[in-house]
Amino acid sequence: MSSILALFQDYTFQTVALGSTLLGLISGVLGSFAVLRKQSLLGDGVSHSSLPGVVMAFVLLGSKNTEVLLLGALVSGLLATLLIISIVRHTRVKFDSALALVMSVFFGLGLILLTYVQKIPNSNQAGLKRFIFGQASTLLQRDIELMMICGLVLLALVLLFWKEFKLVTFDSDFAQSIGFSPKKLNLLLSFMIVLAIIIGLQTVGVILMSAMLITPAVAARQWTNRLWVMVTLSALFGAVSSVAGTAVSSLVPKLPTGPAIVVCVSIIVVVSVLFAPGRGILHRLYRRRKNRILYKLEGGVPNGSAT
């Protein structure tokens, strides 16, 4: 117990925990929209595709500053998104195939570049490998500041365009018929989701980042039928599992933070899918059983509770 207390007073832990909490919060909010727009996989594509950008930024600009590397990630993530969209638009290749194609090509390219760069002197200190699985312990004060600024901007945009995002996510044809351009809104929302992914790369890494985006949102959807509750819950789940994951990885030697966070958020989703009232598996089994018993007892039509 005292070790946990000491942990929470530790400066490094505070920095890392604050960073990952911010990340959990932001990705929870934007992940809700990604899930509702049925673009869960796009997040995975973007995060994997950002790897070559990270390496290229280091090679071309020679900097190992996180901002520079993340800028590279942003460029290559957006490039991949555009590529996927234009493949779908201009060929007969379907979205899922285009996504898998672009994602694996970009990620493979990233790995090759990474191997190549490792041979350059001085490159080992650049710590590019941390972007694969993430390494929260490398978070610095200024990284946190960057995350805070991005987070505030993203949250402000979500609040500002709440009505529009809700409308276009539910019914984009209707949105267009009353003068809200789905093209512009979708572009903005996609850009925001990409940004949320990019700022999480250092902590969670390109492979697991999409879990941070999708899992809290899926868990939150189980508990509520209201959008704002879902978004709030999702942010909460993301934040809580980030703190818990960071704490666990600090207490257990050599346990990486990113995967620890993802395991924590996965526990939340499993519990939610099983036990949530209404949508949970157990609740549905219980209801079916109850209906069957009622049917037997009444010897006829199960009454209103069937639906």
Partner: protein
């Protein structure tokens, strides 16, 4: 026959194509104000496409659409046009209540960023009452039946307080009771001198429900008052069929 008339919608030389295949060919259409018009035609005739192209949801190859004699600029025009999409076009598992969806009808008037106010909520509740669903306002939309979904979409369109309405198969999959309720609503809209364009499938009910009809199959076969153009000969031309399509020609 030619009198000075005011039109709700005028379509000129409209051609729409998906890939290279034309779906609508050289459509010319004039819909007078205050009419209840059915758009009738076989599957794949381009009915939904016509509505979407008129609303500007699809980009036509050529052609122009003019609303309300062109006496409205584009920005306010959007608020004078109501739309009821096919209820199957959205995911009803979206986390929203019935009232949330109906409120979306007010979004056009609100414009960007501004949030709905009390008056909008009040209006939405009234419109829900009009479609007989006031007690469902806080119900989750995934729990609605097909007919109820249709009514919610109608209430949303009513909340738009538009002058011209486009409805894509509002009678699809609804029971007799809901169908009657929708018809009553349509007649009410007509009494308020609104124009309503409805994609419709049941030929038998056209003369009862509507006073204007457009028969299309890629092109416009005929368009005009029901009693003038809705007869066996035009229907055969529309459906390329030799059998009898109407049990009794109204």
């Amino acid at each position: 026959m030619k009198t000075q008339r005011s039109y709700a919608v005028e379509v000129e030389d409209l051609t729409v194509a998906y890939d290279a295949k034309p779906v609508l060919w050289d459509i010319d259409l004039k819909i007078p104000k205050g009419k209840l018009m059915a758009v009738v035609g076989p599957n794949g005739a381009g009915k939904t496409t016509l509505i979407k192209a008129m609303l500007g949801l699809l980009k036509p190859v050529t052609g122009a659409v003019r609303f309300l004699d062109g006496d409205s600029d584009v920005r306010t025009l959007k608020n004078r046009i109501g739309y009821v999409p096919q209820s199957g076009s959205v995911d009803w598992d979206f986390p929203a209540t019935v009232l949330d969806v109906v409120l979306m009808g007010c979004y056009g008037k609100l414009g960007w960023i501004r949030r709905p106010r009390k008056a909008d909520v009040e209006l939405s509740r009234q419109m829900l009452a009009k479609v007989g669903m006031e007690e469902y306002s806080s119900r989750q939309i995934s729990q609605l039946s097909g007919g109820q979904q249709q009514r919610v979409f109608l209430a949303r369109a009513l909340a738009q307080e538009a002058e011209v309405y486009f409805m894509d198969e509002p009678f699809k999959g609804v029971d007799a009771q809901t169908e009657r309720a929708i018809v009553t609503l349509l007649k009410e809209l007509k009494e308020q001198e609104k124009t309503v364009v409805v994609v419709h499938h049941d030929l038998q009910t056209v003369p009862d429900y509507f006073d204007w009809v457009t028969l299309i199959n890629l092109r416009v076969v005929a368009s005009g008052p029901v009693e003038e153009v809705f007869h066996e000969e035009n229907l055969k031309k529309t459906y390329h069929s030799s059998g009898t399509l109407l049990r009794s020609v109204g």
